[in-house]
């Protein structure tokens, strides 16, 4: 195919076309294996062949210069999946695919990039820091899609390195020569303990994260009670099975979400909610005011332990603080926290485009 992907950090990527979107189950097995290999390579850098990938053995890590692409993704038969997603996340029962559903759709392709042999960071154990998603064209059940995913923008973080996994969804519109970009999501992950040299002009810290909240599951933590929450607009009582329920819908069955036992293996006292579950639910609870196209961002602070209760404030941005022309509503901010401990779980925005 002729498609060429240019990463945001410059340079063209080789486009590798896959026949279909991969299944996540197999990817996690491969991810676990490659995570182990990467860990072994770092522990024993002197023994040739153990590390396997060029990155680990050469000491300087680099991202694969490749973008995955899958064309002809049929949504016509996703009605049941969409319905289950809508019910779990409190989305209305519409035939429009919410931005969070498109994330679920594209996530396996991004994961496939992360389990490549030459991807330098371990899939398991990476911390999800933030997401920045734009839905620029509504996508409706029945449309054929093209999905692309690649990794870019490897950069230092004070606790390791961070990387952006970019995914794009295009609609194969028969009336257009090229598929039309409809959705773009940038997921930022932290791999602790890794290092990259400071690239000139590269951003420090996590992308746009508020100082002190940008750290993820095991990152820096603000002391309990130091922060004063606003008045809540809602409360989520999340049962123990929340991670399993979103795992079933999203395919993301990372062990840290599935049960206390499997989460303990990764250092969590109990299972934790998927960050994207919390962000997607906040997006749904903004309601129709988000419009048909919107930008949706989230930054994750402390994880939500399951079962658990999250107080949320989902509030319209004061119109006087937004654009003065009044052409577009200024959108919503959202925030989730633990009211007893007064610690933040996540914060984000939903802005009509």
């Amino acid at each position: 195919m002729t498609a060429v992907v240019t990463a945001t950090d410059g340079g063209d990527l080789d486009v590798e076309t896959l026949p279909a979107l991969p299944g996540l189950g197999g990817l996690y097995a491969r991810g676990a294996a490659s995570s182990g290999r990467i860990a072994a390579g770092r522990a024993l850098p002197a023994i040739p062949g153990i590390g396997g990938g060029p990155a680990a053995s050469e000491g300087v890590i680099a991202l694969p210069r490749v973008a995955y692409r899958v064309a002809g993704v049929e949504t016509a038969r996703m009605g049941e999946h969409l319905r289950d997603y809508q019910r779990l996340l409190h989305e209305p029962g519409s035939d429009s695919l919410p931005a969070g559903f498109l994330h679920v759709l594209a996530f396996p392709l991004a994961t496939a990039v992360m389990v490549r042999g030459d991807f330098p960071l371990p899939l398991l154990g990476m911390v999800h820091l933030a997401n920045d998603v734009s839905l620029t064209r509504p996508v409706v059940l029945g449309e054929r899609l093209e999905v692309r995913a690649w990794a870019e923008n490897l950069r230092p973080h004070r606790r390791g390195v961070q990387v952006d996994l970019v995914a794009e969804v295009r609609v194969e519109d028969p009336s257009a020569a090229e598929p039309v970009l409809a959705w773009r999501g940038v997921s930022t992950y932290l791999a602790k303990g890794f290092q990259v040299p400071d690239a000139p002009g590269a951003a420090q810290g996590s992308s746009g994260a508020v100082s002190g909240t940008g750290s993820g599951a095991e990152g820096d933590r603000e002391p309990e009670g130091a922060w004063v929450p606003p008045l809540p607009t809602g409360r989520w009582v999340l049962p123990a099975g929340t991670g399993r329920a979103y795992g079933a819908i999203s395919g993301d069955r990372n062990p840290i979400h599935m049960s206390t036992l499997s989460a303990k293996a990764f250092g969590f006292p109990r299972a934790i909610a998927h960050g994207m579950y919390t962000a997607a639910r906040a997006l749904a609870e903004v309601g129709p005011a988000r419009g048909a196209t919107y930008r949706w961002t989230v930054e994750f602070a402390r994880p939500v332990l399951l079962p658990g209760t999250v107080d949320v404030a989902i509030t319209p941005v004061d119109a006087t603080e937004g654009a003065l022309d009044g052409a577009k509503p200024p959108g919503f901010t959202y925030l989730g926290w633990n009211s007893g401990r007064r610690t933040r779980h996540f914060t984000g925005t939903v802005t009509p485009l």
Binding site: V228, P229, P230, L231, P232, T233, G234, R235, W236, V237, G241, E285, V286, G287, D311, A313, I314, T315, P316, F332, S339, G340
Partner: protein, 463 residues
């Protein structure tokens, strides 16, 4: 003229015949009046009415009303009411109650539900039909039981059972049922949480209370007054012709005539325990004493045209003047969940050319003591009335001695759908009594807040 048009309406028909030849002019609105009311004593959940159903309770309230006004065998225009917590088998709850009463079986009925505003909304519906001349008489009311609430199966079990019932083969049926997980077998009882926010009504009101800076002491004073006033009204025999005993209960059993500020002050806060913010006091203020308890009960009110009341030799307590409902945007915290009546009342007053000063008695449903206080505070707030209600300034100050003079829900209890009928019947009797004492017309304003950011309000005056 085949219609029920009055003579004056028939006269004017000719003039409009050119434009609408087949439709006579609508008859001028006539008065709808409150004849009287009846309820059963309200009972705290799980006590005297623990095994009473909505149908039994509403039938009892209805039958008491029928007996009081000699309506046996009478074909009324309609009976309207509902229940907030309702079994699916009760799809025709009010009609079934009519069939179980001594009213003529030819009396139509329908169910209506608007959360805690159900009873008042039913009265609005009935009085509108009377005013339009569509019916001559009707009963409005409601019933609720928390003790006999429906228990639902989990969503997983429900879906599996539905799939199994849709299945065509045994194999399909077994496959559907195999999806049931042990966790699905846990029954679900109805929650009072707002579906869109997950916050209980108490938590919502705790936020509103905090925003308006309402103190614990002010709330306890409202609670104390409610109990004292209701106790006094019972002692004075005010409810003798408004209540029929049921299941051995002769008075509202939530009433604490001997309560005091000291006793109320001892109760621990139950709502808003983690709301402290930079702008809001740290101490939670809402307790079991200044919040309404879960309650069982039923109420019914007889409304009619003046002619019908006269023809049946029945008294007329009050004229149902007008009503206004409202809803507020509470989902993202713009307005408090229970603040809709605050918005409805200025519109209702303006339409009728009235101000707060023209109201002699206020019946503000005490979902919580702080509901009364935030309502009154909002009307006194210049800035709020301008920005949120679109008024030129504060709506006005309400003299607290005019509010809930015979007690309200904090003392009587609050069986959701039954509260509107309780308030309307009591208010109608109050204006009638007061007018007889003073020889002047007396006007009452009724305000009922409800879940979902809803509210219903009405004005009645001595007839």
């Amino acid at each position: 003229m085949a219609t029920r048009s009055t003579a004056s309406a028939a006269k004017t028909t000719g003039t409009s015949a050119r434009t609408t030849p087949s439709t006579p002019d609508a008859p001028a609105l006539r008065d709808a009046v409150v004849v009287g009311g009846n309820r059963i004593p309200f009972s705290r959940a799980g006590k005297k009415y623990a095994d009473a159903s909505n149908q039994e309770m509403f039938t009892a309230a209805l039958e008491g009303l029928v007996a009081r006004f000699g309506l046996q065998g009478e074909r009324l225009g309609e009976v309207v009411g509902g229940a907030v917590l309702k079994h699916s088998r009760d799809f025709n709850l009010i009609r079934e109650c009519v069939l179980g009463s001594s009213l003529s079986p030819q009396t139509p009925a329908y169910d209506l539900q608007q959360a805690c505003a159900t009873g008042l909304e039913a009265a609005i519906a009935v009085s509108n039909k009377i005013r339009l001349g569509q019916i001559e008489s009707g009963i409005a009311g409601g019933t609720d039981t928390v003790s006999d609430a429906p228990i639902a199966v989990s969503e997983g079990l429900r879906r599996a059972l539905l799939d199994a019932s849709h299945a065509k083969t045994l194999q399909q049926r077994l496959k559907a049922l195999a999806k049931v997980r042990p966790g699905d077998l846990k029954p679900l009882s109805p929650a009072t949480d707002e579906p869109r926010t997950g916050l209980s009504m108490g938590e919502h009101q705790a936020i509103t209370t905090a925003r308006w800076g309402i103190t614990r002491e002010a709330q306890d004073e409202i609670a104390l007054a409610s109990h004292k006033n209701l106790a006094k009204a019972w002692e004075a025999g005010f409810f003798d012709d408004l209540v029929t005993p049921f299941r051995g209960l002769t008075r509202d059993d939530n009433l604490r005539a001997d309560t005091s500020m000291e006793k109320l002050a001892k109760l621990k806060p139950v709502f808003g325990k983690h709301l402290a913010t930079a702008d809001v006091p740290a101490e939670p203020t809402m307790t079991a004493g200044n919040s309404t308890p879960l309650t069982d009960g039923a109420s019914a009110v007889l409304l009619a045209s003046r002619e019908w009341a006269e023809n049946h030799d029945l008294p007329v307590l009050a004229r149902f003047v007008d009503a206004e409902t409202a809803a507020v945007d509470f989902v993202h915290g713009h307005e408090g969940l229970l603040m809709a009546p605050v918005h409805a009342v200025p519109r209702l007053l303006a339409r009728n050319g009235l101000t707060l000063d023209d109201i002699d008695l206020f019946e503000i449903h005490e979902a919580f003591a702080s509901t009364v206080l935030t309502t009154l505070a909002a009307w006194e707030d210049d800035e709020y009335c301008r920005t949120e209600l679109g008024l030129d300034g504060a709506l006005g100050k309400v003299d607290r001695s005019k509010v809930n003079v015979n007690g309200s829900s904090l003392a009587a209890g609050h069986p959701f759908a039954a509260t509107g009928g309780r308030i309307l019947a009591s208010a109608a009797k109050l204006v009638s009594q007061r007018a007889a004492e003073t020889g002047k017309p007396v006007r009452a304003l009724i305000s009922v807040c409800a879940a979902g950011g809803l509210g219903a309000t009405a004005i009645i005056e001595s007839a």
